[in-house]
Symmetry: C2
Subunit: 542 residues, 2 copies
């Protein structure tokens, strides 16, 4: 067979050639714009040649700080197309971490959105490698700025060559992209995506049994393009000639609902919070969302209630998926097998609430204390993944050794796998409570507690215990109206029928607030620190 | 990214693991049998280990002479799974050519169907490399035979290990399969398929925009498994957990129609002749074919009339596709773009009658006398293809140089490409008529002639001409009832309104028969030899 390399520029070339009339609808700071793939293709070539003029060379990293819009899409193809490396920077990291990753990646040029300019200006003195800044602005005039040199994206494009030819000698294992993922402690960890990994991931996304992305779709990635390549959708959608709708900066649920209706979106993708907001907006307004065939939900577990409510109230199918920065990201998709289609509605909802089955091309296994767990939906273990779009290291980072062992990525996610091979995430390994040689899911306890009408937030942690290694305690924040009106005995009584006796927390502690990370997740580490002597001290004072 | 190799055994392992209850329905010489993927998986492992016991080593070729059934499917996975090479032998070749390709491939073992045993017995003295014969029979007792040693497939399986582990060190560029394609002159030419090529081709087949093969499909490959891996369907269908229906030896249109109905087939694939037979059967009987979503038609051009008749009469969509042995085979599929869905019925039929657009992953171009042709659906040129599932040589064959040049496969097919990038085949390069620097499609002329009620067969050839290089003449066989009742003037008058004047044949010659190849195609070379002096001699005798 021909030694044809799986590289990225042919994806855009296919869109240019075969889908030149199809559109990319882009919302920017100033409005909604429509471009054809014919136009996007030429603009992308201009960008690649302009970046070469700015001194970007093969293998150089080019950073982007940008929302989802057509210019970011052009960067997605121009940068790897010319042989450089697209480094999408997560703007939600702290300024210190943003500076760290720009320096660690050694970004040569930064492409920056209007509203993110102040962020870069604030850290500019800490940036050691950046030689030029390009502002992705709709305005003709550049704002006053302390960044130097600062160019206008559109002016740079004007200097570029619309007939630029992508180099033909890029190898499929060459780096194409980078994304850093925040770590529990320490600096973010970098993942490098190769051309081959991205192309194979695109094929994975196009398979009828995963997302089945197709030319006839209208795809709106709400998941940010600075977050695992917007789950690979911009690459795949371009390749297949899919119409793309890019919701731009600081969108609201209303904007999403309006664009869904007006552009007849068929598939969209985002995290549960986004869909919760959309659900509430759909309840408020009157939108026609009948074009939508799939609401892809990932990033964290989609609540069963939300999946069911979307189905019952709006006939909108939530397609639950799982992945992480290290996995490009698609690992599992929750689709029913043909013989599961006959199941009753509630049983289907149970399945849709799981993360689903591994997509073709990858392998997973779930490793418990005694090796691979039984496929019974009960036994818990860490989820391991391998395959051609799974990272095999962190970029120049000694934490590689913790996550990549024996050819498998150790995800740090705890899962069960049922008789049909369906994965359900139950916890993070570091949050799992290990009691007397058995495992207790902190997430299951929390979800059960948060279903109580009095509970605003609940976080369950394993606390060192002299006899059982660890025992669970529940940290609970009550809703304002219930403060001092609910006892721990009531909450434990509420949990009792739902769990085995040994799963029940040994204590319920009422707090005013659960400490959180910068992205709003419970900071269980802080709670564990706070309560580490809970049982030992109690014992001593007895 | 992980250096995960794209190899074949994980495809079967996925079916075993995740689709162990799904079925393969297999028609053999004695009846219809049902196996689960759980069973097929174990039988495949048994076969691999049994072949090792028979002395098959890494890289050895193992030949099959077999129809479409479960045992052939097991061979599809056991042989490449163990690191050997699956050589599917086209039983329709002449016995001399079959002996040639077995020797040329150096097959070590042959797996043979009951009814093909006499074929092998006849050539056995000419086979130089085969060390063992295995009969794929349903019967417990072996028939008397001069083949030595001859084993029973089921007995061999009994000796095999159902827990055999496939070697994990197979590389994706290792050979996995072989298929020989008949040549116009000389011996058949061998194409070697790699693991990588087959896996990527499977992904191509699973893409929503090509065949969209999925777990929910019931797939019946009618195209023989000895013909370009039954177009890759057994590999892909197994990977995706698709139910497979294998129609076995010497099926009839009635058998196909019955299996389609009883097994609720959703997608089937075969050559136009098969579908013509099925169409007639559907007209005769009363079959429920409402489960069918696609009748994939390839191998030669599907007549527009047949596509239209299937659509109008039975609401059955014919999915026209194009490929060849050298291309694994899928190159194009005739699907409408989203904005073409609005076209009127007849315009859609026009598009469905074309071979369609190149599938994601491959590149095509059409090269005429002056380089790449315009995308106007008129200008003709040779179709060139490249990509990761396209061969780059013929196996140990100096004819490689004719077909593989500058990184492209020169298909020998003449095509046009329209404004939307849709390919339409119009001829073979060697049959194209070159008249005064312009090209005339012999196929277009033939099709027009064969639409005349008096014409049974027509073949148009280019004959050397002193002034125009070549001029077309038409060789026509009249139907019995019209013999001596139709003149050449009448036929030319019939053609005149349909073509430019210079396209019209300079003469119509009535023959009793058109010479044909062993597989029933017009042998135009013989006609060209016969008429090579037609114009020069005519001139001289004037």
């Amino acid at each position: 067979m021909m030694n044809t390399q799986l590289t990225i520029s042919p994806l855009m070339e296919r869109a240019e050639k075969y889908f030149s009339k199809k559109e990319v609808i882009s919302r920017t700071a100033t409005g909604i714009y429509r471009f054809t793939y014919g136009e996007i293709g030429k603009r992308t070539r201009r960008l690649a040649s302009a970046l070469e003029k700015l001194g970007v060379k093969r293998g150089d990293r080019v950073g982007t700080l940008a929302w989802n819009h057509h210019r970011h899409l052009e960067a997605y193809f121009a940068i790897p197309g010319m042989g450089a490396v697209l480094h999408t920077i997560n703007i939600r990291l702290s300024p210190e971490h943003i500076a760290y990753i720009i320096n660690h990646a050694e970004d040569q040029v930064l492409l920056i959105d209007d509203d993110l300019l102040p962020l870069v200006e604030r850290i500019k003195d800490h940036l050691h490698t950046v030689k030029a800044f390009v502002l992705m602005t709709d305005h003709d005039e550049l704002p006053a700025s302390n960044l130097e040199p600062l160019y206008s994206y559109e002016a740079v494009l004007q200097e570029g060559d619309p007939n630029y030819q992508y180099p033909a000698d890029i190898q499929e294992n060459d780096p194409a992209g980078m994304c850093y993922t925040s770590a529990t402690t320490g600096n973010p960890k970098g993942v490098v995506y190769t051309h081959r990994g991205i192309v194979l991931h695109c094929m994975g996304i196009g398979l009828a049994d995963s997302l089945g992305l197709s030319e006839s779709d209208v795809c709106m990635p709400v998941v940010p393009m600075f977050h695992v390549n917007a789950w690979g959708l911009p690459f795949a959608a371009t390749w297949f000639g899919t119409t793309q709708v890019m919701p731009g900066p600081r969108f609201t649920p209303q904007i999403l609902a309006e664009m869904m209706e007006s552009e007849k979106v068929t598939i969209s993708a985002g995290v549960p919070t986004i869909w919760l907001g959309l659900y509430q907006e759909l309840e408020r307004g009157r939108y026609n969302t009948s074009s939508v065939r799939a609401i892809v939900c990932g990033g964290s577990a989609a609540p069963r209630g939300l999946i069911k409510a979307f189905a019952e109230k709006f006939n909108l199918p939530v397609l639950h998926a799982y992945g992480m920065t290290e996995t490009s990201p698609l690992v599992t998709a929750s689709r029913l097998k043909s013989y599961q289609q006959e199941l009753p509605f509630e049983a289907k909802m149970d399945l849709y609430a799981k993360q689903g089955m591994v997509v073709p091309g990858l392998e997973v296994k779930v490793i418990g204390p005694n090796g691979e767990v039984e496929w019974n939906g009960q036994e818990m273990g860490e989820l391991l993944v391998r395959g051609p779009w799974i990272a095999d290291e962190y970029y120049r980072d000694e934490r590689t050794a913790d996550a990549f062992k024996d050819g498998w990525l150790h995800t740090g996610d705890v899962a069960t796998i049922d008789e049909e091979g369906t994965i359900k995430l139950v916890d993070r390994t570091k949050d799992l409570i290990k009691s007397g040689g058995e495992w207790i899911s902190s997430v299951d306890l929390e979800n059960a507690l948060m279903a109580h009408e009095a509970v605003l937030e609940a976080s369950c942690i394993g606390v060192p215990h002299p006899q059982w290694d660890e025992r669970p305690i529940a940290c609970v924040v009550l809703k304002e109206a219930y403060k001092d009106k609910v006892t721990k005995e009531e909450l434990l009584a509420f949990l009792t029928p739902q769990f085995a006796k040994w799963w029940l927390p040994d204590d319920v502690v009422f707090l005013n607030e659960i400490p959180k990370t910068s992205v709003g997740k419970f900071l269980k580490r802080a709670l564990r620190d706070q309560f580490q002597h809970y049982f030992t001290v109690q014992k001593e004072t007895k």
